[in-house]
């Protein structure tokens, strides 16, 4: 409660408002560590419970593929953490894309952490949420309310900078690179993007995830229907900017990754279907791991495609992703991915070198001819 009142005071909220759902981050023991686990355990022991629908971000392991390969004490700590969240009443969703499980209503007030989901909810789904810190989303889940400030006020959601995208964005990597590029220069400004050509929702997911990784942006607008009035700052994104950003995100000197990772943020049903059909009857090469990450909810829905993907030798992991598990302990030194967000975080969070390339190229590297 102290957390929420403090936030409210700072950002000029006069009241707390009810929320439709909460989504918390800080579920992976790898990113969370010991001290916050004690903090959460104390909350659960005090009998606290969530009072609204509340979902969890990915944890650090996949029950099927990773739990036997990782050190026992880490697996035990993760299980303990999951039990604490269970006791607090959270749905065991373990995904960064809770909107694929249940799409929030347009205009609904939410308290979501997980920066990529925040941007997606505000910009693509039209729901209203601030970028909550892990603990403030947790507090909001318990009391069912959030301070009425920031993204919860219509006036604060209007664009205040126009971004003319002159670069043509050919694939999901270009969208991610645009996000990283803009995240670094926009601070907390709200961009109206012009020049995007019929982006898929998944392209916007990549854009938003990258935008939030590199910046403090909560929302973007796009499309011709959005109008701005008066004098407004303008930024132009040239083809060179995208090219240079993609180049900066590649840190590996080798062209041979140990892991090819698709699913940051977690794959949609459509993405799983596209991967299955692109794989066809090909098999994964020796000496390389190929992971496709999603939620157990989508995996269940996509069962036929999952079978096809796994028949190639690839693994469809649920509940986790490469960034929040201990890839270094699995001997992975170089990660190839189509996600700019992963490429942004992997050098520090995974101590891994990165190769950023679109799905098509990732598949070419992963599969035998």
């Amino acid at each position: 409660m102290k957390i929420l009142v403090k936030l409210g005071e700072l950002f000029n909220a006069s009241r707390l408002i009810p929320i439709e759902s909460a989504h918390v981050s800080g579920v992976s023991y790898k990113t969370l560590g010991e001290a916050p686990t004690d903090f959460l355990e104390a909350l659960a022991s005090a009998g606290e419970k969530v009072s609204v629908e509340a979902t969890l971000n990915p944890q650090s392991l996949d029950p099927k593929h990773l739990s036997k390969k990782l050190p026992k004490h880490l697996v035990e700590m993760q299980l303990k953490l999951c039990e604490i969240f269970d006791k607090l009443g959270f749905m065991q969703s373990f995904t960064c894309t809770p909107y694929y499980i249940k799409e929030p209503k347009k205009g609904a007030h939410l308290a979501w952490a997980e920066s990529s989901a925040v941007v997606y909810a505000n910009s693509v789904l039209g729901a209203w949420t601030n970028r909550e810190g892990g603990p403030s989303a947790l507090a909001a889940a318990i009391i069912g309310k959030t301070p009425d400030c920031g993204m919860h006020r219509a006036a604060n959601r209007e664009p205040n900078v126009v971004v003319e995208v002159e670069a043509s964005l050919g694939n999901e990597v270009d969208y991610g690179a645009l996000g990283i590029f803009l995240g670094k220069i926009l601070e907390d400004k709200i961009p109206l993007l012009r020049g995007l050509k019929n982006p898929k929702a998944e392209d916007l997911k990549q854009l938003g995830a990258a935008l939030a990784s590199a910046g403090m942006v909560n929302i973007f607008h796009h499309g011709k229907s959005v109008k701005v009035e008066g004098k407004i700052e303008k930024i132009t994104v040239e083809p060179r900017d995208i090219k240079e950003t993609v180049a900066e995100l590649k840190t590996a000197k080798t062209r041979k990754p140990d892991l090819i990772f698709i699913g940051c943020p977690h794959c949609s049903l459509r993405e799983i279907r596209e991967i299955a059909s692109a794989i066809g009857n090909r098999k994964v090469r020796e000496n390389v791991e190929f992971w496709v990450c999603t939620s157990c909810f989508i995996k269940e829905k996509a069962r036929a495609y999952v079978q096809k993907i796994e028949a190639s030798g690839a693994k469809v992991l649920t509940d986790t992703c490469a960034v929040v598990t201990w890839t270094d302990m699995l001997g992975i030194k170089t990660i190839m991915t189509n996600s700019a967000k992963t490429a942004h975080y992997a050098p520090t969070l995974n101590r891994a070198e990165t190769i950023l390339a679109p799905l098509k190229e990732c598949l070419k590297t992963a599969l035998k001819e």
């Binding site: 102290k2 957390i3 403090k6 936030l7 700072l10 950002f11 981050s25 800080g26 990113t31 969370l32 560590g33 010991e34 001290a35 916050p36 903090f39 952490a113 997980e114 920066s115 925040v118 601030n130 970028r131 909550e132 810190g133 892990g134 603990p135 403030s136 989303a137 920031g150 995240g183 601070e187 907390d188 939030a212 990784s213 590199a214 910046g215 403090m216 975080y345 050098p347 520090t348 969070l349």
Partner: protein, 138 residues
């Protein structure tokens, strides 16, 4: 009597301290940029790469990135690796929540460009004031 530079901002988490400043021109994501085990900045592209945040008055424009950053601040505090205070130009919810649960004095609305790494500063987060007691030479 010596003259001090006094910067006035907004106190966010109350507290008082005197320590050496560590100043960045870049935003910080505590998850990713800062190593939990050592308190050092491990992001190679960061201008504070290799520096430890421990016991410094950490000054940077604003937070960004992962929402797990709040918990990272809490962990650093529990291990005695946290900054003595946080000074921002613009407070971001992830940093604010971290500072609240970790009990780290915090002030925002300060032009962090006025402070330099190595300056001895006094932070009064009750009043939202940063005093530069001794500026580095040069």
């Amino acid at each position: 009597m010596a003259e001090y530079t006094v910067l006035r901002g907004r106190g966010i988490v109350e507290g008082f301290c005197k320590a050496e400043a560590l100043v960045s021109t870049k935003p910080i994501s505590f998850l990713g940029d800062v190593d939990l085990a050592t308190g050092k900045i491990v992001e190679k592209r960061h201008d504070l790469y290799g520096e430890s945040v421990k016991d410094r008055v950490l000054c940077f424009p604003h937070g960004h990135g992962s929402t797990v950053g709040s918990y990272v601040l809490y962990s650093l505090a529990k291990k005695g690796l946290a900054p003595k205070a946080i000074i921002n130009h613009k407070a971001d919810p992830v940093i604010v929540v971290g500072a609240v649960i970790a009990n780290i004095p915090m002030i925002d609305q300060i032009d962090t460009g006025r402070i330099r790494t190595g300056d001895l500063v006094e932070v009064d987060a009750y009043k939202g004031i940063v005093k530069i007691l001794k500026a580095v030479e040069g």
